[in-house]
């Protein structure tokens, strides 16, 4: 099981890196989403997940600790999922506005370093 999860994590991180390096903002967003899922899987693997372990406190008769799963990593994952969901939504919106502003979603075409930083008061 751990080997399977490790392979999946590797594939997700690899795919995420590939997407982040593509010249398209929407792919960068997807790559970051893959990253956050990979990180959540790391958490699952670190919590010692295996199919023959059960959730704690559900069947209180199975009181042998070795058959129970650690409840803390799933808590962490829930929190991390919520956060990454919010941040990804915000990032997607930002990318959309960048696309509206500049008419392209290719980071190479965007004037990232050329555009003068215009502030509210400078004409």
């Amino acid at each position: 099981m751990e080997l399977l999860i490790a392979i999946v994590i590797g594939v997700l991180f690899g795919g995420g890196t590939y997407l982040i390096l593509r010249p398209s903002l929407i792919r960068v967003v997807m790559g970051l989403a893959l990253y956050s899922n990979a990180a959540n899987l790391v958490m699952i693997a670190c919590g010692g997940y295996s199919p023959d372990r059960t959730a704690p406190f559900v069947n209180s008769d199975t009181n042998s600790i070795s058959t129970l799963m650690d409840p803390l990593p799933p808590d962490f994952i829930l929190t991390a999922i919520v956060i990454s969901f919010a941040v990804n939504a915000l990032f997607l919106t930002t990318c959309y506005f960048v696309y509206l502003d500049h008419g392209t979603d290719d980071p190479g075409q965007l004037p990232v370093n050329k555009l003068k930083v215009e502030n509210d008061f400078v004409e």
């Binding site: 990979a38 960048v98 930083v117 502030n119």
Partner: protein
């Protein structure tokens, strides 16, 4: 002590209230200022209380420490909280004059409270995952702050900022997971207890995981290989708020380095990661100041200086690898953080005034500010000399403590780099001074009343003078904070202790013992103590 939750509850409810009051500018200002002032008073009281009667902790929902969420206020956390609220209040008053209608319409004041909430939360967190959540709250607030009332340039820079920080957060989660799998806990106190007993391959594993966290914190502090995002993103933040960002956000990273690398990781071979920090700090200082020298936008120059100044603080953390000088180095770092937050925020606020008075960001187009705004020139020269480390101000003393610690420990190379950086900082500040202030006026006069923005800026500048002239209380407070970071027994007892309401006293302090006094170490030991 349940009151510990106030530094995050007050900004949270203020944010909600101020959001409901949207459209009534005056009321929003009064409510935000009232809550900031009140909370500033509270955190200063908390600092005095913790300094006197030991570390306070609180468990959420009564779940006891290693399992539940815990907030801990030790001296270091309280010092940072005080700075956060002090600079936050000053910056809030400053923004009353700079905020535009469109920014106010799109929730400027609620977002500012959210940033305060995130920063305060990260100082109080008692476990690593909670620190991650606090980081995220702080970052989401800062994303909003960068884009409030945004134009094209701001949105573009914010996009980069979000992308780099999302990658950082992913690594943070991975680091938390790996650490949990290895040690079985994420609570700082519990980790400090458990890593101290590790040795062999487990210890090596924890050191490897600490490198993952090092990348995360290096991204937040803008340490050497990962500083590229900072000079682009900070100048696009609205003028006043960039003072808060410049002062506090990177220092949250330095605080995390102190907390995690000095206090928590105590396994066999943890000195390795501290030495890595020392090497990185040299590059950070030098490259930061070299970057500043070839820039022409005032706030961009100041942003590059944040990088080089962060190098000094990381150097202080790195010097702690040598146990002989660890206490002085950490005390110097804490004093440096205090100095830097105050001076860098004031410089950004002054930069904001200079931009408004001259109507441009580029120092080559400014000029004549000395005649037009002599008060601003005075504030700038004091703050910039303090930043460069000139004697009467606080910048001199904290550099002196760090450099003295480096010389005592025999780290001559890093001391040399630090001195060269200080010299180049002076050059870079002289450049701003001679271009923006001393030259003849070469722009049209913008009829802008900057006097209202002067008062909050002046408060910070006066503080750097006071800290330079009357440094002993700050230094000895920093030293006491350093001692409880380096020896976490008091922290562990306060968090994991008996669990009931009985306050756990910190280790007794002997402040007056002369040989451990940092000032004594700076000014030289008495003859018989010398080898």
């Amino acid at each position: 002590m349940n009151l510990l939750v106030l530094p995050i509850l007050v900004p949270l409810f203020t944010a909600l209230l101020v959001a409901l009051l949207n459209g009534r500018g005056m009321l929003q200002k009064v409510v935000s200022l009232g809550s900031c002032l009140w909370l500033t008073g509270f955190v200063f009281w908390l600092l005095l209380h913790v300094d006197k009667s030991g570390i306070e902790s609180m468990c959420f929902g009564g779940w006891e420490a290693p399992f539940g969420i815990v907030f801990v206020a030790d001296r270091l956390a309280c010092i940072m909280l005080c700075l956060s609220m002090l600079v936050g209040t000053v910056v809030l008053v400053y923004t009353f004059w700079t905020v535009t209608d469109i920014q106010q319409k799109y929730f400027f004041y609620p977002l500012f409270q959210i940033v305060l909430l995130g920063v305060n939360w990260s100082f109080l967190s008692g476990d690593l995952f909670n620190l991650f959540v606090a980081y995220e709250v702080m970052l989401v607030g800062s994303y909003g702050m960068m884009m409030v009332g945004a134009n094209r340039g701001q949105v573009l820079q914010t996009m980069k900022y979000i992308a780099i920080n999302t990658i950082g957060s992913t690594l943070f989660v991975v680091g938390c997971g790996l650490l949990y799998a290895t040690v079985g806990t994420l609570n700082f106190a519990d980790l400090a207890q458990k890593t101290a007993t590790l040795s062999g391959s487990r210890a090596g594993l924890v050191t490897a995981i600490s490198m993952v966290l090092l990348v995360v914190f290096a991204m937040k502090t803008a340490t050497f290989p990962l500083f590229f995002w900072l000079p682009d993103s900070y100048p696009v933040v609205p003028a006043g708020v960039s003072g808060y960002f410049a002062g506090l956000l990177t220092k949250v990273g330095v605080y995390s380095l102190l907390r995690v690398f000095i206090m928590v990781f105590r396994q066999d071979g943890h000195v390795f990661s501290i030495n890595v920090l020392l090497v990185l700090s040299g590059f950070t200082m030098l490259l930061g100041v070299l970057g500043a020298m070839c820039q022409w936008d005032i706030r961009r120059i100041l942003s590059w200086h944040i990088i080089s100044q962060v190098g000094y603080m990381v150097m202080g953390v790195g010097l702690a690898a040598n146990p002989m000088i660890a206490e002085v180095a950490i005390a110097g770092t804490i004093f440096y953080i205090v100095h830097h937050i105050i001076v860098k925020s004031s410089l950004f606020l002054i930069g904001g005034i200079a931009e408004r008075v001259s109507g441009t960001q580029e120092i080559r187009k400014m000029g004549g500010l000395l005649d037009m705004a002599p008060g601003v020139a005075l504030l700038f020269i004091v703050a910039s000399l303090s930043l460069a480390g000139m004697p009467p101000f606080s910048g001199f003393l904290c550099k002196l403590v760090l450099i003295r610690a480096g010389l005592t420990g025999g780290n001559y190379l890093i001391v040399f780099v630090a001195l060269v950086t200080g010299f180049l900082t002076l050059y870079s500040m002289t450049k701003i001074w001679s271009y923006a202030f001393w030259r003849n006026q070469c722009h049209k006069v913008v009829g802008f009343n900057y006097r209202g923005m002067m008062a909050p800026t002046a408060i910070l500048v006066v503080m750097t003078i006071l800290m330079g002239l009357y440094a002993q209380p700050f230094l000895s407070l920093g030293q006491r904070a350093a001692r409880s970071v380096l020896d976490p027994q008091g922290y562990i007892a306060a968090v994991l202790g008996s669990g009931d309401e009985e306050p756990v006293a910190d280790t007794p302090l002997e402040v007056s013992e002369p040989s451990r006094d940092p000032m004594r170490l700076v000014c030289g030991q008495p003859k018989e103590h010398r080898r």
